[in-house]
Structure formats: C-alpha cells, structure tokens
Symmetry: C2
Subunit: 397 residues, 2 copies
C-alpha cells in the first residue's frame, strides 16, 4: 500500500496553503533544490562539456522516459523525453499521418486543450489544402471514426471539465476503421491509471509539470508503440534522433526505435527536479493513487454540493468518467477563485466560468479537502469574492 503520509512529507507546501492546482503546476519536491545544485556545481561547473558522458546527461531522456513508462503502462524503452508537449503533439500527429498515407483527416474534440488543436492546424496547413482537422463534441468522437480519418488526436482527460475518454474503447474502435491514435496524457500521467500497452495505443504524449511535479516548463515525453517504432519517420528529425549523431553525416538516418523521436540537445537542468519528483513516484503504485484520488474528489464534490447551491458540477458525476480534478461552474468563478487564492485555497479558473480543483494524493489528504471545501463555502455563501481587486485579469490566469 502506498504511503501518502510519506510522500506528502517530501513536498514543500507553503504555510497556510491548500494546493489544489497540481493539475496545472505540481509543487516542489523538497529534494529538487539539492539535485539541481549538485548538477550545477558538480556537473556543469566541474565537468563542463565532459558532463555529457561522465555525468550521463546524454542518457537522461531515455532513462527518465523509462521511469515515466511505468506510470503510463508503456513498454520499457518506448518513452523518451524532450521539447514541450505542443512540439510532441506536432511530432506525433505528423508521424502518425505518414503511417496512414491515404487519408487526410485528423479527428479531435472541442474539449481538447487548444494548443493541441493549434499545433494540428499549423501542421495541416503546412501539409496542404486537402488535409483537414475535424473537431467534434467529445461525446460524438466514436461516431465520427470512419475511413476518412487518418489520426484520432485526443486528450484523454479534458483540461476544463476533467471528462475522461474511454481510451481502450476508442482505440479499439479507431483501429477497427484503420485510424491511428495520438493520446495526450497531460491530465492522465500521474493522475489516473493508464495502460498504453494494454489498450494498443499508437502514440502518446504528455507533459511533466502537472501531476508529475517536474517544475514550471518541465520537458515533455513521447511514446511510440513498439510496432511502429522502427518504421515511423519522426518528422522533426534532429541530430539526437540520428542513428549516429556524432558521425555528423549530412543526411538523416533515424536512430533505433524511440531514440528517433529525440530532436535537439536535451534540457539537462530541467530534468533534475523531475528526477527528484520521480523518486517520489517510485514509492507509490498508480492503482493506490487512483483510488485515493477518487475518494478525495468524491469527498470534495459532496461537501461543496451540500453547502454551495450557487455552483453546479462541471465534471462528470461518475468517477470512472472523470480524471483527478473537479470543476464547478459559477458565473462569478473568476473573482471567486481569486478570493479563494487569497484565502490560501489555490485552484484555477478557465474561461468562461469554470473553477478547477485538482486532487493529488501525493500531497493532498482528506483534511485538506475538508478544509478547502469549508473555505469555498465561506467565500461563496458570504460573497467574499465581490471585491474589485479580485476582478482584475492578466494575460496568465
């Protein structure tokens, strides 16, 4: 049984804060600072260029990929780190399209994270006018899988409402119509149980700064199913994906398997906090994390609904159809969230009216949930949000 008291003690959580926004940016693992310092002072400072070999920096994208593979049910050796999630979405979709060369449509849903849609739009525009991004309601995705579709590009858990797609069923149905799948695990990795190998996913991508707690702007990952790994063309074909990077050949030759999805020089410094976070992940089992996440979400929903008639649940009521977050819709959600943050309950807001709360068993427990729900009730029932200072918006909210 995973010991969540032990994991909670390994995070720095500011005094007076209940942090329910780990679905946006995970908190700081206490060991991160030391790992970063060691890499800076002992690695970069002392080893300089030789650190690529001596400190093993060159191996990190694959080593870290393997540690994440365990959390998402991927076969070892088929996940690699690099770039941002947006870039990895582009790479996965571009690569998948080429494996389905007679088709021209990418299917997605309007609950997908906009950057995924934007990256696909940018790619398809480059590829030509006969390519199309088809965006439908999340509930309608299965019905739109047909012989036109080359690639199904979905985020498993919706960023706004926490709605969860049935990855197994949709992947099976996609394959039955000759469609390849690209799954974005931004709100899945470290949040719910994922079984990429078991569901026969083709490609998957994800970020590491949310539930995985890798830090602001931490690198992304990409998974390619073993059956595609030696045939796929990476589209973004950089030198570290080359079969022999230090031969400095003039022509690209893809590296073996997942190595070919590497692109440029990896962000060694940014890997360090992520490794500190993965040391904590190594202590837990995803089945335990999921069970506790469901319990925390259910408790929060119950408490808020019992006390706050102003809001309505924006997430699926069925836990099995939900990720590890709970959204409540409230017309004054923006100032309400600012008021909550001022009271130390940190969630976030997504336009037009969604208040998001993420539940992360590694460092959030039942007492936190009860306390947070109490603050929500106080803020809403006493209109504490109705102050001008809470209504000022900035570019990043």
């Amino acid at each position: 049984m995973s010991d969540f008291t032990a994991t909670k003690a390994m995070f720095h959580l500011p005094e007076g804060v209940i942090y329910l926004d780990g679905n946006s940016l995970g908190p700081l693992p206490k060991a991160a600072g030391t790992m970063v310092s060691d890499m800076i002072e002992g690695g970069w400072g002392e080893m300089l260029i030789t650190g690529w070999n001596k400190a093993g920096w060159e191996q990190l994208p694959r080593q870290i990929g393997d540690r994440i593979a365990r959390l998402i049910g991927a076969e070892p050796g088929h996940v690699v780190m690099g770039d941002t999630l947006s870039i990895k979405v582009y790479q996965a979709v571009a690569s998948a399209l080429e494996l389905n060369p007679d088709r021209r449509v990418v299917l997605s849903d309007n609950g997908n994270f906009p950057s995924d849609l934007y990256m696909a739009q940018g790619l398809l525009k480059s590829l030509g006018e006969d390519f199309e991004l088809r965006v439908v309601d999340p509930e309608a995705v299965a019905d739109h899988l047909n012989e036109d579709i080359a690639v199904l590009m979905l985020t498993e858990v919706g960023y706004r409402d926490g709605r969860r797609h049935d990855m197994a069923a949709l992947t099976e149905r996609a394959h039955a119509t000759g469609v390849l799948t690209v799954w974005d695990l931004a709100h899945s990795a470290g949040a719910i149980e994922v079984d990429l190998a078991g569901v026969n996913a083709d490609f998957a991508v994800g970020c590491t700064y949310k539930y995985l707690n890798g830090g602001p702007g931490a690198p992304a990952f990409i998974y390619v199913a073993p059956r595609h790994a030696e045939t796929v063309r990476p589209a973004l074909s950089g030198w570290l994906g080359h079969e022999e990077p230090f031969a400095f050949d003039l022509d690209y030759r893809p590296g073996a398997g997942i190595d070919r999805m590497r692109v440029g020089t990896p962000p060694v410094l940014a890997f360090q906090p992520l490794m500190a976070a993965l040391d904590i992940w190594d202590m837990v089992d995803m089945a335990d994390v999921r069970a506790q996440s469901v319990a925390l979400c259910e408790l929060f929903i119950h408490e808020v609904e019992a006390n706050c008639p102003q809001v309505r649940l924006g997430s699926p009521r069925d836990a099995a159809a939900r990720g590890s977050q709970v959204s409540f819709r409230f017309e004054n959600g923006f100032p309400a969230m600012q008021a909550l943050i001022a009271r130390g309950v940190i969630g976030d807001f997504r336009a037009p009216d969604t208040m998001r709360f993420g539940f992360t068993p590694l460092y959030i427990d039942r007492n936190d949930v009860l306390a947070a729900a109490g603050v929500v009730a106080d803020v809403l029932n006493n209109n504490l949000w109705d102050r001008q200072e809470y209504k000022v918006r900035s570019r990043v909210t």
Copy 2:
C-alpha cells in the same frame, strides 16, 4: 572598454583547467546557482502556479530575447526564447518557405551543422516531393542563389572549421534574387559581432549554451525581421503564440509580431542560469569581445604552428573570415584531444580529424592561451596521445 578581468572572475572555472570548449558548452556563471535556487525555493516553492504572474515567468521569453537582441544587432522586441535550436530552425525555415510560395528549394552548405540539414530534410519530406534541399560547398553558396531558391539556410560560422560566411553580402545577394534568409547564429551569438538589422536578415535562430553560457541544453532563440513579423505564419503554432492564450479559443490566431513564434510552456528553470550569464554579457561590448577574440585566436595559431608541424590549420587564416574558434586537423586528433583533456586543456574533437579550440574573452586570457599552446606542443611532440585509454570512443565526444 570591456573589463575581461572582471568578467572572468564571474565564472566558475575548475582548478587546473583551461577551458577552450566554450563554443560547445559555456562554463558556469558563479551567480547561476543562486538565481536557480531563488527561483526554485522562492518562486516555484512559495508562489506555485501564481509564479507565472507574480514572478513574471510569463514575460521571460521576450525579456531575455531583448537582452540577446543587443548582442546580435536585432531590433528590440523581435527576438523570443523557446524550444531547442533544431526546433527553431524548423520553425524559421517552414515559416520562410511560406513567404516565398512559388519556390521549392532550400539552399544550404555542407559545412552547416547536420541538425539544421536534418530538420530541413524532415520538413521538406513532409511538404512533398517537389521540395528540395540543395547542399553545396560553402564557397559555392553565392553562385547557387537563383530564382529556384526559396530560402537560404546557413550557419554563419561553421561548427567544424570556424569558417565565417559574409552575412551582409550573402543576404544582399539572396534578396536580389528573391531569396529569404535563415541564419543560424549558434557559433555567432556572443562570439562575433552580428548586425541582423543592418544586413537585413529575414530570420535568425541560435542556441544559448555555447558562447552565451546558458548551461547544458539551455533554450534557443528566434528572430524575425520586423517587415515579416506581422505576416509570417509560425508553422509551429502553439498556445503561447496565440493572440489570446487564455481565451482558450478552438482556432489559432497568431499573436502580435514575435510573440507568435512562441510555442509551448516556457522552460522557466532553464532561463535562470541564462539570466545570470546575461548579467555578465551586459558588462561588455561585442566590439571589444570580437577584438580580443581575434587577438587570442591569432596568438594560439602562431604558437601552435611555431611548435607543432604535425597539425595543419583547419580554420581560415584570415581572422575576418573566421569565428571565435580555431580548428587544427591532425590524423590522431581524437586521442590527442583526449590526452589534452587529461592534461586540463579542454577542447573537443569533430570527426574525422578536427581538433577544435574555442576562444572566449569573457573568461580566457592571453596567459591561458600561451599555457594551452604549451600543453598542445608537449602532447603532440612527445606523442603523449598514443595510449589505449585515449582511443576509446563513446556516443558523445
């Protein structure tokens, strides 16, 4: 006059090491560790998600871009940080190609860094069979500029030999034949004087882990000339390049000017050492850096040639045609470089026979050059490289 004694004191240089590989990975600015710690403990740790606003993380890609703009002669407000250099090459070439829609050829040279060629190959393959990457000798580039060419993609200073293209002349000639230019400044930024605005460059990209000393895998930058900034389509169209990222629209609308070249969530942690390095860059003038770099390179060439008949100069003899590195060719260059490194003189090796030495006035002075040349002479003239342990190769060299 720039004070290079003062700048040298601001870097950590390991005891007993003369570091002539700053053209590959710059050394550690002493202030980097503190800046990183402050961001981790005080920023991420205490501010959590609110750091994007409160700590100004969201503004860093443009703010840092402006500091680099000064070093490369770019107009303020037209450089932005993000991704790796390989990704930025892809974005620049893809964007430039669309601005020249009736042409299908990208022209480059065989002295370019292979990743640039690979990224272009990957892009052009995606775009279709009528697109072509034409690779010629560096000396022949000007003669191959004609009405077929859409984009001229060059690295100003060659990674292997330090050969420098005439950016002004080639850009002018490119424009005269309707060709757009993409300049890779990997070995230029912080190495030589660059005047992007003055030469009318169209696009430029570069990394920050070499002469700029941003740390292993530090983020890249991209420049788009003001005349293209409001019309270019970024090709890699991510949410942070959107006009209104937090509106979460389903359709991409490019942000104003250089903001549209942003893609995913920026690497906040990795920016910190770069900012420490830029504090040092703020103390110097690039004209002084260039003058001192030429003096150091000339001194090293003179000393090595006077004492080591085994090697021949692999870089241009004319300082004006050279960047800030000196290459010597030697058939036993690989073990010789290993022997030099064992003696504390760190340069690097590029296949098949090139020993590279980078000269970086911020932390290398005349005494370093004389001492290094002495070690080179000792290693070569006494065959100290002829040991088995120096002949073992690894993936990264």
